[in-house]
């Protein structure tokens, strides 16, 4: 079976400065993949380059095709939704903005899926951080994507909210076969919810199955000696670790 996502020699420069250096990897169908790395390591840039949101060199193919041809099959939840929060736009109106034919799309289905049906008449600006991320997720799910990109979608949300969010993602992956690629700083959540991992620091430091690729050595390479490493309680393999705040 061909990979869902193929990235080959992806390079991004901003004003001549190298942000990503010849990144290559593939992602298989129905996987949950995390992209981790320190600040400025190019995690968000990688996602944006894959999605055509920043100029890049190299090759990106989704479902064996160029991105433009498969755009409706791609969902994206951004890191920040920096809009004017005093603007009167309801959850329902916001989600309908991406529909050419709103009546034909499963608005209530996607809101129900993320547990936000009762908030459909509420203003976007009045939602909490966690609720807003759920609405953004519903927005991304509206066209029933086959692959979902999440860019630090849980930053600024409390631990309980994060756990709920990741559980929803896991359920979407299991029940609907959605492939998920997420940028995250929450290594414990990554360890718990993802199958595969891409460790980035402008170039590819390590990638593979989460529990094999995410070693204490890799974490130290990414985050330096300041990362407080401790053996994972439920990990049978020696040397596998996660950083704690």
């Amino acid at each position: 079976m061909p990979p869902v996502l193929e990235v080959k020699d992806l390079t991004v420069r901003f004003n001549g400065n190298l942000a990503l250096d010849r990144i290559s990897f593939t992602i298989e169908k129905e996987a949950i993949i995390a992209v981790i790395g320190p600040n400025g390591s190019g995690k968000t840039t990688l996602l944006k380059a894959i999605l055509g949101l920043v100029p890049c060199q190299g090759q990106v193919r989704l479902f064996s095709r160029p991105l433009r041809q498969v755009l409706p099959q791609v969902g994206y939840v951004p890191q920040r939704f920096a809009f004017d929060s005093s603007f009167p736009l309801t959850v329902e109106e916001f989600i309908n903005l991406t529909c050419r034919t709103p009546e034909k799309l499963p608005l209530h289905g996607v809101l129900d899926e993320v547990g936000m049906t009762e908030f459909k008449g509420k203003l976007i600006g009045e939602l909490s951080g966690g609720q807003l991320q759920r609405v953004l997720l519903a927005h991304a799910l509206l066209h029933r994507p086959r692959i979902l990109f999440l860019d630090e979608a849980t930053s600024g949300i409390d631990i309980e909210g994060q756990s709920d969010f990741y559980s929803t993602i896991q359920r979407l992956n299991r029940e609907h076969g959605v492939t998920v690629m997420m940028v995250s700083h929450e290594i414990s959540m990554v360890y718990k919810f993802t199958d595969r991992i891409i460790c980035l620091n402008r170039d590819l430091v390590s990638h593979g199955e989460t529990r094999i690729a995410l070693t204490a050595e890799v974490l130290k390479k990414l985050y330096g000696d300041n990362a407080d490493l401790k053996s994972h309680d439920h990990d049978a393999h020696a040397g596998h670790a996660e950083p704690h705040a």
Partner: protein, 294 residues
């Protein structure tokens, strides 16, 4: 004005005056066009762009006056070119958008003043372009306003969803398959075109008011985008009509009275929203934004 028994109301007479009929029609069309565009202008925080283009349009009008070509058409062409230039510089240079607009705005206005000063004698047109003169709208101007407004409104209505999503978040618009560069350029050009048409009512100095004030008032009172859209247009139309009638009876400059009518309505809405917010807080029944209408 309330007519006393046995006295005819002056309103019907007023409506029979051809210049007033043209002014009312132009006011209604431009009120709809500018206030509707104002929704996107405030959402994208483009108020300075609007102000800048309107001011710089004076140079275009001056070129028309000097060459004895239509000042309105030359201002339209000049402003659309300027909007495209601002857009291009925003993309290609490292200067901030504010700096680019600031340079264009002051240079265009200065060029306009210099060009107008090249004509000998007193220049009444300068005052007309600075502060507007809705009562002096000619048939040919009205026809141009109606045709261009219809084209711009047709485009905005048919692309409302895309323009709103782009104004909210550029990346989301890209992911929805929208070409952001194309739609931004079109919005810049249509906005500059609408502003120049609006100069006939309010002049280069005051025209931004009808873009900003009605939508700002409506935002205080709305709890959905749909309500906001309707309220914005209704407030704009009422403001223009009330300002027109008041200025006629009070014998005051029309553009200025329209702007003051709008700012008075905004002040009342602001006060009402604040009082409602306070009473809800005192009642312990919710927070401030619940004071808006559904």
């Amino acid at each position: 004005m309330t007519p006393t028994p046995g006295m005819r109301s002056p309103m019907p007479d007023l409506l029979l005056l051809p210049f007033m009929q043209r002014a009312i029609l132009a006011g209604l069309v431009l009120g709809l066009l500018l206030s509707y565009l104002g929704i996107f202008v405030t959402l994208r925080k483009m108020a300075f762009f609007s102000d800048g283009i309107a001011h710089a349009a004076l140079a275009g009008a001056a070129i028309g006056l000097l060459t004895r070509f239509s000042p309105l058409l030359s201002a339209l062409a000049f402003s659309m070119l300027l909007a495209a230039l601002v857009y291009w510089l925003e993309k290609k240079s490292s200067l901030s958008s504010d700096a680019i607009i600031g340079i264009m705005f002051t240079s265009g206005m200065a060029l306009g003043v210099v060009l107008i000063s090249l004509r000998p004698g007193y220049q009444p047109e300068l005052i007309s372009y600075l502060f507007g003169n809705i009562l002096a709208i000619r048939r040919v101007d009205l026809a141009l306003i109606i045709v261009l407004a219809a084209v711009i409104l047709a485009f905005i209505f048919s692309h409302k969803r895309k323009l709103t999503l782009l104004a909210l978040d550029r990346e989301m618009a890209c992911m929805a398959g929208i070409n952001p560069d194309l739609y931004e350029l079109l919005l810049y050009i249509m906005l500059s075109c609408a502003l120049v048409l609006g100069i006939r009512i309010l002049g280069v100095i005051l025209v931004s008011a009808i873009l900003i004030i009605p939508v700002s008032t409506a935002r205080l009172l709305s709890r959905s985008f749909k309500t906001l859209t309707w309220l914005t247009v209704l407030i704009a139309e009422f403001t223009v009509m009330a300002g027109l009638v008041l200025s006629y009876f009070l014998d005051l400059p029309t553009g200025a009275v329209i702007v003051l009518t709008g700012s008075t309505i905004f002040s009342l809405a602001f006060l009402a929203a604040a009082l409602r917010k306070r009473s809800l807080r005192l009642a312990g029944g919710g927070h401030g934004k619940q004071g808006r209408s559904e």
